[in-house]
């Protein structure tokens, strides 16, 4: 018996002919489906709206990388600019400057100008860090996003097949999942990358050069499949055994339709809840792999490679590492915040309609 029994519209007494159903929470008349109720829940949560807008803003900024490079920075961030010079306060200044530290030997790239060119300074090869940062963000987000979709698709397939088929198929798939799970993620990713990046990948008509972004996408997408497939499988089993699936079977509904119409829509929430969290995890994984030189390959950039570029300049030009570091942190935090709200709204275990 609920403590809040009187508040719950599900428990109204209907002594007479039942009144028109009390809409949940006193909402106006048009009936809201579960999806639209979830959307409305998102829209009414300040945390979800703010984090969602933040993520959108980051994505938009990264999408503008080519425009920034062409019209603002007026540079090609993938070519080294060791001999380039720029105008600052009316004087031409070389991008690579004589070192002012220690013995004065060697060169130090220019620091942040806070102007249109070299806004965040240059890296060791004289390239515009700000432009590279935007291009790198593009790659980071693209890889993480594509890997998320790949991971969700694979996990949905494995989880649904294992959960719905049961028996021997379930046993094989579950054990496979467990084996992948038992492998340390980074070790697996590093060994996969070394095998796949060592030489270009040829498989029949498929040819991938070692600098292709597809390789990190596949690697990152696959390593987290067990983390999603497991709960999906559990959810499928729970729904398959639920009363409404039993009712559908008793009504003589075809198994294919039961799977498609009764089980899948109810598993979809599990997948949706995982998406932002997985995306955050993938950004971190991509950056880590790229930092370790087994992700995105030069001259391509990602937040991870820029972090590594900045490693050598940590004392003289810390902003080179700080910019991608802060970007990773902020993006991941926003994604997790968004994911938390999403889970509260969509999780079947959270209290309905409240």
């Amino acid at each position: 018996m609920s403590l809040y029994e009187s508040e719950d519209p599900d428990m109204t007494t209907d002594l007479d002919t039942p009144p028109p159903a009390p809409p949940a929470g006193g909402d106006p008349a048009p009936p809201l489906g579960p999806w639209r109720r979830a959307l409305r829940g998102l829209a009414s949560s300040p945390a979800a709206v703010l984090s969602g807008l933040g993520i959108l803003l980051i994505v938009l900024a990264m999408a503008l990388a080519p425009a920034y490079a062409k019209y603002v920075a007026k540079t090609d961030p993938f070519r080294s600019g060791l001999s380039a010079k720029i105008m600052i306060d009316g004087t031409r200044v070389p991008v690579m400057q004589r070192s002012t530290e220690g013995l004065g030997l060697g060169v130090t790239p220019i620091g942040p100008t806070w102007g249109p060119q070299y806004f965040l300074g240059a890296d060791n090869q004289g390239r515009d860090v700000a432009a590279r940062f935007l291009y790198g963000g593009q790659n980071s987000l693209f890889i993480a996003g594509a890997a998320t979709l790949l991971c969700l698709a694979c996990a949905a397939l494995v989880g649904i097949v294992a959960g719905y088929a049961g028996g021997a198929i379930d046993a094989v798939l579950s054990n496979l999942i467990d084996m992948i799970w038992a492998f340390p993620v980074y070790l697996l990713a590093i060994s996969l990358s070394i095998v796949m990046l060592g030489k270009s990948f040829d498989f029949g008509p498929i040819h991938l050069s070692s600098s292709s972004l597809i390789l990190p996408i596949v690697i990152i997408g696959l390593v987290y499949v067990p983390y999603v497939a497991r709960p999906v499988r559990g959810r499928v089993i729970a729904i398959t055994n639920s009363e409404f699936v039993l009712a559908a079977r008793a009504l003589g509904i075809r198994p294919s339709r039961i799977l498609w119409r009764h089980i899948l829509p109810n598993v979809a929430t599990t997948l949706i809840v995982f998406a932002p969290m997985l995306m955050a995890l993938n950004i971190v994984t991509e950056s880590s792999l790229s930092f370790l030189s087994v992700g995105v390959q030069a001259p391509n950039a990602s937040w991870g490679t820029i972090l590594q570029d900045g490693q050598a300049l940590l004392y003289s030009r810390p902003v080179v590492s700080m910019a991608p570091g802060i970007a990773i942190m902020v993006t991941v935090m926003l994604l997790n915040l968004f994911g938390d709200v999403l889970r509260d709204i969509l999780d079947p275990k959270s209290v309905r309609g409240r």
Binding site: M11, T13, A21, S242, A247, A248, I253, G353
Partner: protein
């Protein structure tokens, strides 16, 4: 019981108002000014349907509502203490578990699973009164004997899982009595229990009340329990007290239309004596209190040829265990069940939890899982020989109405989609025809066709059950298996749904297999009754024969245990021995005994034991 004019009340509640925090810092009041007194040795029943605020009231009296989200106003005086003025620490030190104790509905979850029953009893004994370990143990044994747990000294060291539901409720009562409370609040203490166990617990509570002289506040929705237990009755509706008086007054001469409607909706066992056919519940207009008496079912069953014939149905489940998950035992859920249902007939399958009645319903449409054997014939078709595709088509003929309508509706489909789906799946016509039929059926079950666009969560419990009935009718079935279909509904809603089922039978001639533990409802609705015990039918026959001349001892025990909503007919015997555990798990080598049935009167069979 005796003269209900006791001296000073133990519990005095004046103008109790309870509110819960709502959206945007508003407060929703759920109890509007309740006043009542309970004297020593007296039992007051707080009765109402779900949403009436009765449970909230009982929790408020113990101050067990979360202070962050609730507000309690008014005055509650217990044994000279104003509870609303006490600090939380004082509540713990002086009131809860001391002067007032509480027992709840769910004995399965109220005991801690990892401590022995003895440990928990001893804790209840010693937490307010330090005593030596040996003395505490002795006191615990004495308490368990007090609540008539057999073999108390040995069972003290058992864990809760080794106790049946009724035994656990006895342990809960023992814990509640440990501190010799002045007031015992019992919140639906027997609702989750089987009817025979309910009778035992109720008579135990009555006896203990006399021994201890405590005041009892009984919170329940069950008018039978009220009539059996209470000296005075308070009827609540949506947070208001509707009627208050001695139980005799309330039952004999209810003043308010709501009370009258409530009482009219309660099926009283034995009220069907002399009625030849199923009888609808009387309908009472809640505004005026005017009663329309229930009409009997006009259509007669056609006994010329059986519609559904079940022969030697057996369903068993393997219990696997050990490292290699080998079969270690077997659950004999259904054993050698045979019965037939005729067109326009209702056969009721009655029994207590675990007797295999629900499994029978599912086994008939081959959805039980496990291993089933035997024969189920629907007309000329043998269901147990069909391949998957033909079985699927055949399911059109036998439909099911579930116990929990919300769980059996896909939360992501509108009602319209849910109703249309089976019609289209069985290729019964085009989409427009399906929509038209859905709208017509909505109208027939008393819902507006416009509601087809809504989702299941937007309906009340009774409405959802109507939706499930409409969905089953979409396929024009010949047989409907109603598995505890009205058990979870409030009494007034239950009466409406039963009337609806009878209307449908009268109009369409559908046969019902009505599976239920509620004998009073079964008596209303059925033509014939089959009593199940431990997976077998012990008695089957025409309704009047089984109810009025029960032959099998189990049938008699079942009928005797039902609490009757009439205070003049209190009949629960005192000091009943607790019934034994019903356990259908057997060794792999177990061979079920072969049974013979004796025909006492035409059509009335009883198992020979």
């Amino acid at each position: 019981m005796t003269d209900p004019t006791p001296a000073a009340p133990i519990l005095t509640v004046r103008d109790l108002r309870v509110s819960f925090a709502g959206a945007r810092k508003s407060w929703n009041r759920v109890v509007h000014g309740l006043s009542l007194d309970v004297a020593a040795g007296e039992t007051v029943a707080l009765v109402g349907e779900s949403g009436s605020g009765k449970s909230v009231t009982s929790l408020a009296m113990m101050r067990l509502l979360d202070p962050a989200t609730s507000r309690i106003e008014g005055s509650i005086t217990l044994d000279g203490h104003e509870l609303l003025a006490l600090s939380e620490a004082d509540m713990v030190a002086k009131i809860r578990g001391q002067r007032a104790t509480m027992i709840f509905q769910e004995p399965m979850t109220s005991l801690h699973p990892i401590y022995t029953v003895g440990d928990q009893l001893i804790e209840a004994l010693t937490c307010h009164r330090p005593m030596a370990a040996s003395a505490a143990r002795k006191a615990a044994v004495a308490l368990m004997e007090r609540v008539r747990i057999p073999d108390a000294a040995r069972r003290l060291d058992d864990y809760p899982h080794a106790f049946s539901g009724g035994m656990r409720q006895r342990v809960m009562i023992a814990m509640a009595l440990a501190s010799r409370p002045k007031l015992l609040i019992a919140d639906e203490p027997t609702t989750a229990l089987d009817v025979t166990v309910q009778g035992e617990i109720l008579s135990l509570l009555k006896e203990l009340q006399a021994e201890y002289g405590m005041a009892m506040l009984f919170v329940t929705h069950d008018m039978g329990v009220v009539a059996e237990m209470a000296d005075r009755t308070v009827v609540m509706l949506r947070g208001d007290v509707v009627e208050e008086g001695t139980t005799e007054q309330v039952f004999r001469a209810p003043r308010q239309p709501y009370t009258r409607a409530l009482l009219a909706s309660v099926p009283a066992l034995g009220s069907m004596a002399g009625e030849p056919v199923p009888l609808r519940f009387p309908v009472i207009d809640i505004a005026t209190g005017a009663a329309t008496p229930g009409t009997p079912l006009a259509r007669q069953p056609d006994f010329s040829a059986p519609l559904l014939e079940v022969r030697d149905l057996v369903t068993r489940f393997d219990v696997r265990g050990g490292l290699l998950r080998r079969k270690v035992a077997r659950v004999h859920a259904v054993e050698n069940l045979s019965f037939a249902i005729h067109p326009a007939e209702t056969l009721a399958l009655v029994g207590e939890s675990g007797c295999g009645k629900s499994t029978t319903g599912r086994a008939i449409i081959r959805l039980a899982g496990g291993q089933s054997s035997g024969s189920v014939r629907l007309g000329a078709t043998e269901l147990f020989g069909l391949d998957a595709a033909r079985l699927r088509r055949q399911r059109r003929e036998i439909q099911m109405i579930p116990q929990d309508p919300l769980a059996s509706l896909n939360p992501r489909m509108t009602i319209g989609e849910a109703l249309v789906e089976p019609f289209l799946e069985h290729r019964m016509g085009p989409f427009a025809a399906a929509r038209a039929k859905a709208a017509r059926l909505m109208d027939q079950v008393g819902l507006a066709p416009q509601m087809l666009e809504r989702f299941p969560h937007e309906f009340s419990g009774g409405q959802r059950q109507r939706l499930c009935i409409a969905r089953a009718l979409m396929l024009d079935p010949k047989v409907i298996i109603a598995d505890e279909s009205v058990s979870a509904l409030d009494v007034s809603v239950k009466a409406q749904v039963v009337n609806l089922l009878l209307d449908i039978q009268e109009r369409t001639g559908i046969a019902f297999l009505f599976i239920s533990h509620d004998i009073a409802v079964v008596e209303r609705i059925s033509h014939r009754i089959a009593v199940m015990y431990q997976g077998e039918i012990v008695e089957i026959g025409p309704r009047a024969a089984v109810m009025e001349t029960p032959l099998h001892p189990y049938t008699r025990r079942l009928i005797d245990a039902v609490a009757i909503p009439d205070p003049a007919r209190r009949h629960l015997r005192r000091s009943q021995p607790p019934s034994d555990l019903m356990n259908p798990i057997r060794d792999l080598s177990f061979v079920p005994p072969s049974r013979r049935y004796r025909e006492a009167t035409p059509g009335h069979f009883v198992r020979e034991d």
